[in-house]
Structures are given as C-alpha cells and as structure tokens.
Symmetry: C2
Amino acid sequence: MPRNPEQNEQMKEERRAAILDNALRLFAAKGLAATRIAEIAKAAGMSQGLLYHYYRSKEEVFTALIGNAFTIMNGAAAALEALPISAAEKIRRAVNELFTGLERSEHTGTYHLLIAAASASEGIPAEARAIITRESRVPYEIMARIVKEGQVQGTVRSGDPEQLALLFWTTIKGLAIHRAANRRTFRLPDPDIILRMFLKE
Amino acid sequence: MPRNPEQNEQMKEERRAAILDNALRLFAAKGLAATRIAEIAKAAGMSQGLLYHYYRSKEEVFTALIGNAFTIMNGAAAALEALPISAAEKIRRAVNELFTGLERSEHTGTYHLLIAAASASEGIPAEARAIITRESRVPYEIMARIVKEGQVQGTVRSGDPEQLALLFWTTIKGLAIHRAANRRTFRLPDPDIILRMFLKE
DNA sequence: TTATTCATTGAATAAACATTCAATCAAAAT
DNA sequence: ATTTTGATTGAATGTTTATTCAATGAATAA
C-alpha cells in the first residue's frame, strides 16, 4: 500500500517482526518440524505468499530466530560481565534478571527454550547449527570468568569454574523448560537456593 | 518364520523392543514430527509395513515410549524412597545414580530428554499428554517427601520442600539436555556442587 | 490520467510422508 | 504333500504441506 520510502521501510520491519514474534512462540512450543508455515502466516496476520516475500523458507525464519536468540543472550551476558560490581553481585544479578525474564514470560524465556530444544535436536538447518556451535559457548565462558574472578575475590566457592558455569546455565535451562511445560502451576523457587551452589555463605 | 508358540512370542517381543529402542533414540534426537516412520523401520531392521503390524501409528509408538519412560523413572524414584537409608543418603544416591545413567548413555538419560521435550511441546498425542499430566508430578512429590524427611532428620537444609524438589529435578533435566546437545565434549560436574543446594555441610 | 513499482493474495504445483494392502514366505499342523 | 496361519515385504494411495506463481491492489511519479 505505501510507497513513501520511510513508511514503507517501517511497515516491512513490522511485518518481519510479526513473523519472527509468532514463529518464536510456535517454534518454541512445537519445534521446527511440527510448526506449519500456514500457522506462522496466520498468526502473523498475512498470507502464506507474503511470508515468502520476507523469508525464503521456514528454515530461514528459524535460523534468523536462532541468530537473534544469541544476539540477545550473549549481549546480556557481556553487559553483565562489564558491570562495575563484584563478581558475587554479578552472579546474584544474573539469577535475578533471568528469573524476572522467566516470570514475566518475556521473549528471553522463550528464547532459552528455543535454544535448548534446538541445541539438542538433530535435523535443524545447517546454518542454525553453525550459529549454535559458534555462539553457544559464550555464556559459559563469561560465567566461568565471573566465577574465577569471584574465587579470587574470596566470595565464590572453590571448584572448577567451568563446572560451576555449566551448572549455572543448565539449572537455568532446566527451569526455563520446566516452566514451558507447566505454565499454569509454575512458581519460581527462591533464588538463594541456586546461589548456594556458587556463593560462600 | 517361526511357528513355535514360545519362539514366536519371543521374536515378537524382540521386534517390539527394536522398534521402541530405535524410536526412543530418534524421537529424543529429532522430536515426534521430524522423525520419519521410514527411519524408525530402517533403524529397527524391518519394512515400514511390518512396523504397522506392531503399532497402529507413529503416535502410538511415541505414546508407548512416554509410558515406558514414566514406568522406569517413577519406579526408580519409588524404589529410592523405600530404601532403608537416611534421607540425605537417598539424595546423594539419587544424584549419583542419575549421573551414572547419564555418563553411560543409558536409556535413562535419553528418556529424561524425551520427557523434557515432550512435556514442553504442544502437539503431542492426546494420550501421551494425559500420561504426562498424570505421571509427571510423581518424581517431584517423592523428592519433596524425601527432603521433608531430611529436614526432620536435621541433615537437609531448611526451605520449601517443593521448591527444593523442583530444583533437584530441573537441574537434572538441564544437565540431561545439555549432554544431549554436547555429547562430544560433555563432562559431568562434581555431584557435590548440586548437593550443596540440598544438604547441610 | 496513466504508468510504474512493489506489497499482497490465494490458488496451483510438487514433493514428502503416513498409512494401507495385495502378495509372499516359512513354519507347523494335518 | 497339502493346508493353514501369521509374519513380512514393497509398492500403491491419499493426504498434508512447503513452495511457487500469475494476478490484484494501492500508492507514487510522470
């Protein structure tokens, strides 16, 4: 409809966003193979044909989402690491912010679920697999550095930093997945229980 | 080939087992929708037609696996609870046995992954969903009782037993999924780190 | 007005796949 | 030997679904 260059560009962005938002929800809930292009298009309020005007295939939509997921997650992790606060405080804040994201049903929680499912799944697009291989270590590495820093500062428990970082993220993943499976009844546990694994008391 | 009644029955059991074993691996790796009946049949060493002689549909195979998963997991949890040992010892043993299962790539680990993915996924067969709804609380309830028992015995940390049980299982789930996504590089962390969440030191 | 440019649609196409089925085959019973 | 029984096969069927495409519409430029 619009030909005004700026408006046009903005509408295209909105279309793209509508596709990605709805695809994220559907892919996270049902997986790549079980999600129908027709569903995504309908949920995004457009015809199937138009969706193909914006993305070349279902796989391309999926891959775009995987890219976004890591941009957001790894960006947040990097921002956390850069904060001018103690390592122990970084860990506390990480748990609290991740919990807040899960509680509010923000995209973040859904992204976590998408990544967890995609990482474990064979048969995802090669490009998506490449992104996962390249990016998925980042949060673990960042958390391992924070742990090491905290051990130097004397506030974080001793133990292999990589193991502690692994447990940090797998615990979060486990909660995100459990929440997805139990949206109705899910209540977040006390963050202090998790922090016990990492912080001296 | 065989008409001898016992041999016949045994071969049928082997066929069924071959179907279920291979379907478990494939469903856990790719999900229900992305797994092809042709793949399962080929992996199980039989024609597609024969598979339909044993199960009416792909969904029926899937549902059978979900049933088995809970039979095994909930049975193991119940057996653990019944052991004549202290609550703290039960928790230690649970972590160790689950870790052993994960380490050895036994079925148990794959079942955990299957259940985690299936629970979070919409679009699984109604009967499978019903089994999940009915059975999935069991391990949480058992662990909550063990925690409560341990709190009475003074060896388990204070805190809402249900929250502690939730964290116990979501942490295990998170590790199982991470392992599935990183078979090559995965190394189990020190069990004591997890036990810190639950046991007094 | 008319022409042009793209977003947009919905139906057509073609491939993938679950499921069915008619035909074998091998053992055991007669 | 012949018949019966049930496992087994592989090709045929029909449905579902991703993808393509020819046609439409709406805004600007000429």
